[in-house]
């Protein structure tokens, strides 16, 4: 290890701390800005979730009026998706991808800073509706004709904010793809890239191709609302269903934009804490690409009940087809765990939580892909349960896995493990208490997006359970925050490679110097650091031995070793 870790030789010149962070173009600082900004929006949107669940705890209107309730769930969904999950995963990507590639920074550092700074701006614009007579209240999907007829400036601010956030995403995607294709270290072939980088590559491609379509739709909506346009107004030749097509043409790739980087995080964490390589690296890569391709052909499964000229069997079949590459990944993960020397760290617990919860979300997803079932549960709590099992049980668990896993690299200190486990268990139990009953509620026919509901004993008990679960999730954040603060004050020093990692980010100091690497280890596989520290399966072999063999290199290329 001593060969790969050097103290940074130059400290650089120092600027005022605040100015330094405001003007930084360092991908690591921008990554941290992304993550901090995202968590702030996470807490804001989480509070909105608690507001919604409080109102729904028992039948009747207790705290809110109908309109405030509509604003609360609209803002909750919008902020959680566009200003928490997507950016927080972009933040980890920003921090980790150049390190894992052995690059000094992203390809376009200043565009990187721009992509970040558009986010708080867009997020605040979306929220600022509350200051001007009420935020958007049409749900995060903002269906026409509700949205093009809605009064008030809140919806316009929502449109402008989302267009900015979308632009930020697109610029970020250009940056990620260029970085991945142009900035890899010598020896880092595409099939030696860490899985996380692969998932970011496919995610960025989806963002690049799907988000502009949403921008076009948002512009159309804005024109309808403000300039007398009639895209979605059937009285003068427009078509309200068009909004759904445009929204979901973006919205379904968006689902994979949210989940793929999470899958990448899990595929980094599982091998390290199983002490094994990822089972079926190439299968995983091709499954990721397959999911990316299929994601553009399934959007209308959100619209089965709209009728019209939709060809349901096609969209149903394509949707079910996505179950195959996703299933491949399940076997990648199970194969990695199988006979591994498992270490149940907090990161590993969250990764295992991801796998189990995402499995449930995946199964309910395949159920919803079947039009006869979908017709019955469309717009019920069954859909709410499904989407929370994939977004929250999937992506958010992955976000916490990534936080526990990479925090030591970012700040040089390890988060406290017992507190992390307390966080996980409260979070895990609270999550299932909050969202599992929603499956049942949906099957019992309770519609989503309503502020009040019938006083039926079965609905009441399930809703109450769900509210208790939501507050448990909120409580679980407390040990997490204590953990972060305590670790900054007096955390256990992490060293360069606390987990005995596989990938290059662990080959530099924690935190890394501004230029990332003084020197790079040789890269002969997707686990360069493992081979550096453990030799070629023989502890006696040293890195110098590795550099001799061009034949070995060729074998790796063929995937023999």
């Amino acid at each position: 290890m001593a060969t790969t870790t050097l103290e940074p030789r130059t400290a650089g010149y120092r600027r005022a701390w605040v100015l330094d962070w405001l003007t930084t173009v360092d991908h690591k600082k921008i990554g941290i800005l992304y993550i901090v900004n995202s968590f702030l929006f996470f807490f804001a949107a989480g509070i909105l979730a608690l507001v919604v669940r409080s109102e729904l705890a028992v039948p009747g209107m207790q705290f809110l009026d109908q309109d405030t309730y509509n604003q609360a769930f609209t803002m909750h969904g919008t902020i959680m998706l566009f200003l928490f999950i997507i950016p927080v995963l972009s933040g980890f990507g920003n921090y980790i991808v150049p390190l894992q590639l052995g690059a000094p920074d992203m390809a376009f550092p200043r565009i990187n800073a721009l992509s970040f700074w558009l986010l708080p701006l867009g997020g605040l614009l979306i929220f600022s509706g509350y200051l001007f007579g009420g935020a958007a209240a049409e749900g995060w999907t903002s269906y026409a004709p509700l949205s093009n007829r809605a009064e008030g400036v809140g919806t316009d601010l929502w449109i402008i904010g989302l267009a900015l956030v979308g632009t930020a995403s697109i610029l970020g995607a250009v940056n990620f793809i260029t970085t991945i294709f142009k900035m890899r270290a010598p020896g880092m072939t595409l099939f030696r890239m860490p899985i996380f980088v692969w998932t970011i590559l496919v995610t960025a491609t989806l963002i690049l191709l799907a988000t502009p379509v949403l921008t076009a739709g948002l512009i159309a909506l804005f024109i309808d609302r403000n300039y007398g346009g009639s895209f979605f107004d059937p009285s003068v030749g427009g078509n309200p269903i068009l909004w759904q097509h445009i929204f979901w043409f973006f919205g379904h790739p968006e689902v994979y934009i949210v989940i793929l980087p999470g899958m990448g995080v899990v595929s980094e964490v599982l091998p390290v804490f199983s002490r094994k390589p990822l089972f079926g690296y190439k299968a995983f890569v091709f499954a990721t690409i397959a999911i990316g391709l299929l994601s553009f052909s399934v959007w209308a499964h959100h619209m089965f009940t709209t009728g019209g000229a939709l060809f349901l069997p096609f969209f149903s079949f394509m949707t079910a087809l996505i179950g195959i590459p996703t299933g491949v990944k399940m076997f990648n993960w199970l194969g990695t765990l199988y006979r591994g020397k498992l270490v149940f760290s907090s990161a590993m617990l969250f990764a295992l939580g991801f796998i189990s919860m995402f499995l449930i979300g995946g199964i309910s997803g395949v159920m919803l892909a079947s039009p006869p079932i979908d017709f019955h549960v469309q717009d019920t709590y069954f859909v709410v349960a499904h989407l929370h099992y994939v977004f929250f049980g999937g992506s958010v668990f992955a976000v916490f896995a990534a936080t526990y896993y990479w925090f030591p690299k970012m700040f040089g200190r390890k988060l406290n493990e017992p507190l992390g486990k307390i966080h996980f268990w409260i979070h895990f139990i609270g999550f299932n208490l909050a969202f599992f009953p929603m499956h049942e509620l949906g099957l019992l026919g309770m519609p989503r997006r309503i502020a009040d509901y019938a006083d039926r004993p079965d609905w009441v008990i399930l809703n109450f359970m769900s509210t208790v679960g939501a507050f448990m999730i909120a409580v679980s954040v407390i040990p997490f925050l204590i953990n972060v603060i305590a670790t900054f004050i007096n955390g256990e020093p992490a060293g360069d490679d606390p987990w005995e990692g596989n990938t290059l980010e662990w080959a530099t100091t924690s935190p890394p110097p501004p230029y990332n690497f003084d020197r790079l280890p040789p890269i002969h596989s997707e686990r360069p650091l493992f081979f550096l520290t453990h030799g070629h399966g023989h502890a006696a072999e040293r890195p110098d031995d590795l550099e001799e063999g061009a034949e070995e290199d060729a074998e790796h290329r063929k995937g023999v070793v």
């Binding site: 250009v174 260029t178 010598p186 191709l209 502009p212 076009a216 159309a220 009639s230 003068v236 068009l242």
Partner: protein
């Protein structure tokens, strides 16, 4: 740890270049970024075209400008010729600087910029003469949205051309160092191709 490490002091220019680019050749990073950005723009216009074709397909009865309005296909044809010509003049500039002819680059970029501005002016004049607005039925909405956002992209291109021209006048480009010219020309060609799509869709296919 010797052979696998990056060289601390690249001896010559080639080594320096190899160290910067990690020894990879191929398309310059800026061009990769521009092509990816253009890919996203293609999807953006794809979305706008989708709104056009959707409106076209769901309209019952005659498709076209509302009563009292008309389309000026002659003017639009002239503007099309202007924009297509500007694509050629841009490319002549690129070829010139590839040969190292900075003087010709200035000339061709200037002509391209002038043609771009001429196109925008013509479009604004066209708008003022048509007799219908964005709020006049779904045709008005899709017509002004599609042509307007294309015009906004032409405007963006003229900003890029202005920067290229300013840098060319300062003598910042050479045969080996002119990636900005290549990138802006790529974008300009894209804007031109989009216009051919817009023109064919709105004026020729009807």
């Amino acid at each position: 740890m010797t052979a696998g490490t990056m060289q601390a002091h690249p001896a010559g220019e080639e080594e320096a270049r190899a160290a910067i680019t990690h020894g990879q050749s191929g398309m310059p990073t800026v061009m990769v970024g521009m092509l990816l950005f253009i890919a996203s723009e293609v999807m953006f216009f794809g979305g706008l075209f989708a709104t056009y074709f959707n409106a076209r397909a769901t309209t019952v009865g005659e498709w076209g400008p509302p009563a009292g309005g008309h389309l000026d296909i002659a003017l639009a044809g002239v503007l099309t010729a202007v924009l297509v010509a500007s694509s050629f003049t841009m490319q002549f500039g690129v070829w010139a600087i590839r040969r190292g002819d900075a003087g010709k680059l200035k000339m061709w970029t200037g002509i391209t910029l002038a043609l771009g501005i001429l196109f925008l002016a013509g479009q604004l004049y066209d708008y003022s003469e048509l007799g219908f607005g964005i709020g006049d039925g779904v045709f008005g909405t899709v017509f002004y949205t599609l042509t307007g956002f294309h015009g906004a992209h032409v405007f963006g291109g003229t900003v890029g051309l202005t920067i290229v021209l300013a840098r060319a006048l300062r003598g910042q480009f050479s045969a080996r160092n002119h990636v900005a010219v290549e990138a802006v020309s790529m974008y300009w060609h894209f804007v031109d191709v989009v216009w051919i799509g817009v023109f064919s869709t709105i004026y020729l296919l009807r």
